[in-house]
Assembly symmetry: C3
Homo-oligomer: 326 residues x 3
């Protein structure tokens, strides 16, 4: 049902809501398109005219300067006009409904919505409501999905590890509340990564997490053993309030990534983090700033991947044959 | 006196402060220019170079994401550079006066101010202060005027009803506090609409409202009888606090537009609303989402009308012979 | 040490952190480049393609709509893409460090940071952290420096007085807390102004202020005697809370610039103020709006000077021979 929204009748990607339902070729097409946008970011004039005269709306119901900035830069480098809207401080508090807000913006002949919302399913709800010629990219909805993050993560993994078919990837931290983890697990499974692991205390793992296609570890050292890629998740400090985690210090002792714990992973393992980092909580600075961390390349790749997704859903440079298999 | 500010010595519109003082031809010229900008919004590349290299300042002392967005999109489609300023959170709270803020922005060689302010007359005050080569559009000042809203409303009425000379238009709700109503009544009178009605409880009607050129109705059904156009106003929920309105439920029963009440209007009556709507308060969802509602076309037309007003006051495509009659 | 950051190995200005360490020629080169940008602001199409395809980040940890606007306009007239970030309301309150924020933005291939921060030395800290190809302009850090303000002030002085070598400049007000005063004193000394005076109550003067190269006056009339240029500083009303100043009325009586006090300066003295003004506190409206005030020309010049600094640090139109003498 989501795929009816994600693909048009020719099998072209028209909205990006979630990784689920994408097939391997679609994902590789996005990564390959992103490859060509990496060069744009390194040029003297970082601008291509693909979306000239198009209006992109950054609609962030949940505020995130960092993610909004990446989409704003990506859209501007594609020559689009960008409108930033943070409805938490605008007309929704005048009593207007979410869908009325969307209808209004769409009536202004906007072309692409980038939506972030604290509720799972919000992006789906909006995309379903939009007419087919208006496109949508999910920039994170509740605990559900954060597909561009998963795509930039897999782009980064491919950049450093070339081949997905021999990898052991460990994702560490608050899996339960993390849309990043959810989307990443899906993308890695689709790309054929043979072993995806999650490492977390039981209180931060969803029930039946194995059904997502992962192996569970409660102990950091065992879980990191021979990993090629370690993905650290951001721990929301507000979780500390409840009984989910003992204390910051104890969490760091058990699940914070230190050079010592990292020894259990492969010697050439890369370290990833979606940011913003809590140094000294989920990751030690010696690791975050170390030579195996690829946290900043993730950010660089994030611009290229978002340019690629924007270009593809807008039909600008859509690669061929992206019809989903299922 | 306002017209000395609205027109230059050649009779060209240079500021848009209020509908009062505009003559029929000026208004028709704006609507006709807007017609040509409708096409721009439907193009593949929604951009014309009319205001390239010009700096437009969206100066919203009263915050309104929706209206600010329409002006921002309009200006960007004309290729202007747009600066958004919300002085309620900026240097006016450093003790600077309104006119010092204006002087400063003008000294930066800005070309066009779009001003919204909670005080009636603020736009006039600013325009009077600006040098003649800098232009101003009133985006709503207190209870006084909201001229671009009235223009987009009349554009929409013309689109659906072709001819103003046979129409019965009913405006329903809080006439007393509404700059939208005030501006709309003026524009409809100038355009020769033979019967403009206002429908409201006495507490929400200005004293001597008939002098504006309208017929008053306190009863919704009588007022809607044979109307061609029904314009619902937004009810500010904060009015509920005082004694102006009994209760939300009672207001809806008496003045909320329902399919049942709508039967009193003509079969082909169109329903308008300036937004944002309070569904279930002044309008029922069955009406708002019904086929006779033209609320979203109003939004679409709003972009074209604002582009037209911007282009005209900037001298970009000023139609001939707009000298006011008086 | 700062100059290692301000100049590259060829002696080209690559960051502007502070006036200290700049030599006379560097400053004159900036002023001369600004001269050519004055014309751009007066053109029909106020745009040059110098920074096309570059991404400028306005990173304002301390919010200032006025200064942010000048940099935003300057960057857009140079055709750059501009991203406004106000981290006080963004991810730094998610616990991310300043340098992580910088790293992230830099990883997005941004080209130029314009940084404002409440802490002295913040701009230096950021510039030191950035790779050499990314440039930085200090838009005000704590009490330390506000170099573009000092440059636009000296540009304005040159515009009205032609020659720096015969001038008597008096700076009046809260010298102690003013980065504007500090940077201005430096620039005037470097440009060879023979007499720079500061006038303030003892509580608002730094210890050993004479070492900066100024003459101190506690009395306004004596200090203004035969001045060619009078620079009034903004008084932060929050200082009133402490014991630094007696009362607003008494401060105005002693140090507020009135027409009466101004008689002590030369007949053709010009009056400057960095804005926003507290009328009736540090300056009387009769002076602020009088014919000798050049406060609005300062604003106009501010755009041209900021365009010049941006163009020069980005290597766009870097004048020759700006190698510092020391």
């Amino acid at each position: 049902m989501t795929n009816d929204l994600q693909f048009d009748s020719q099998g072209q990607l028209r909205n990006l809501l979630t990784i689920e339902g994408l097939n391997r070729q679609t994902i590789l097409d996005i990564l390959n398109t992103a490859e060509s946008f990496i060069a744009v970011g390194e040029r003297e004039i970082k601008k291509v005219p693909l979306l000239r005269g198009k209006t992109v709306v950054n609609l962030f119901f949940e505020s995130s300067t960092r993610t909004r900035t990446t989409f704003e830069i990506a859209a501007k480098r594609l020559s689009a006009d960008v409108i930033n809207i943070n409805p938490s401080v605008s007309s929704t508090n005048k009593g207007e409904t979410l869908l009325d807000t969307i209808d209004n913006l769409e009536a202004m002949h906007t072309d692409l919505f980038v939506v972030r919302h604290k509720d799972s399913g919000a992006a789906y709800l909006v995309a379903k409501h939009l007419p087919p010629h208006v496109r949508l990219i999910n920039a994170g909805d509740g605990r559900h999905a954060h597909p561009t993050q998963a795509l930039l993560d897999s782009f980064t993994i491919r950049q450093y590890k070339k081949d997905f078919s021999q990898l052991r990837v460990a994702i560490v931290g608050d899996i339960l509340h993390s849309r990043v983890a959810r989307s990443l697990i899906h993308v890695l499974n689709i790309l054929g990564v043979p072993e995806v692991r999650v490492i977390a205390p039981k209180t931060l793992l969803p029930v039946d997490v194995e059904k997502l296609g992962v192996r569970c570890f409660y102990d950091m050292r065992t879980g990191l053993e021979d990993a090629d890629v370690v993905v650290m998740l951001r721990l929301q400090r507000e979780r500390m309030q409840g009984a989910l985690i003992p204390s910051e210090q104890e969490y760091f002792n058990l699940y914070g990534l230190t050079l010592e714990k990292l020894k259990h992973a492969k010697d050439d393992a890369i370290i990833m983090h979606p940011g913003p980092m809590n140094r000294g909580l989920e990751i030690d600075s010696a690791v975050a700033d170390g030579e195996r961390a690829v946290i900043l390349p993730q950010v660089t790749n994030g611009i290229a991947v978002r340019m690629a997704v924007m270009a593809i859903v807008m039909g600008g440079s859509a690669p061929k044959d992206r019809r989903p298999g299922q």
